[in-house]
Symmetry: C2
Subunit: 111 residues, 2 copies
């Protein structure tokens, strides 16, 4: 990966939901797409992604369906639900708050 994995904590779900905002995707595709969009900074592991997707589905944030998409092998596609869009909006706001707070501390102020 190249990045301290613990930094990812909590933001993985947001990133996955953000991918689905642009269209339905299957798991393996998310791993590749996330690596591509982050210039290979993120190398999400399958063992992380699938349990996360199952959890999001149970909470009603995403829905899934099987499709062979033109004769190839069967793939499980995930789709963002309305509830999921709401969660994504929350997570985005939270990320903005968090990252700007970190930058404030890094920038420093007079004691």
């Amino acid at each position: 990966m190249g990045i301290d994995k613990s930094l990812l904590s909590g933001s993985t779900a947001m990133l996955i939901l953000r991918l689905l905002e642009d269209g339905d995707m299957y798991g393996y595709q998310m791993i590749e797409e996330l690596a591509k969009r982050s210039d290979n900074t993120f190398a999400l592991k399958a063992g992380t992604l699938y349990p996360l997707l199952h959890g999001l589905e149970q909470q009603g944030m995403v829905s899934s369906y099987y499709d062979s998409a033109g004769g190839a092998k069967m793939r499980k596609y995930y789709s963002l639900t309305k509830k999921g869009r709401g969660l994504l909006a929350e997570k985005k706001a939270e990320w903005q708050l968090f990252s700007s707070a970190v930058n404030k501390v890094l920038k420093g102020v007079s004691i």
Copy 2:
């Protein structure tokens, strides 16, 4: 707090080291200073901070000494070591890489 605690994962040590860059501090002071500098976004718990400080000291990133600082009660001050400054520089670079990657994904690209 107001922020998903898991977002803090991995960045807490960086924030603590950054505080010490501006001068020696004792634990309780760090909690207050971090809240202040982040506009109350970060509310670090004592149960998180002290084990973290002990770990950093064991790794030689910080050193400590007791001082009563003018008659008041005894406080345990922490000081950033040379090694700690090196770690801070690493963590800062990592944070820049991570946050810019997240922002890339959030911004989105054509599929």
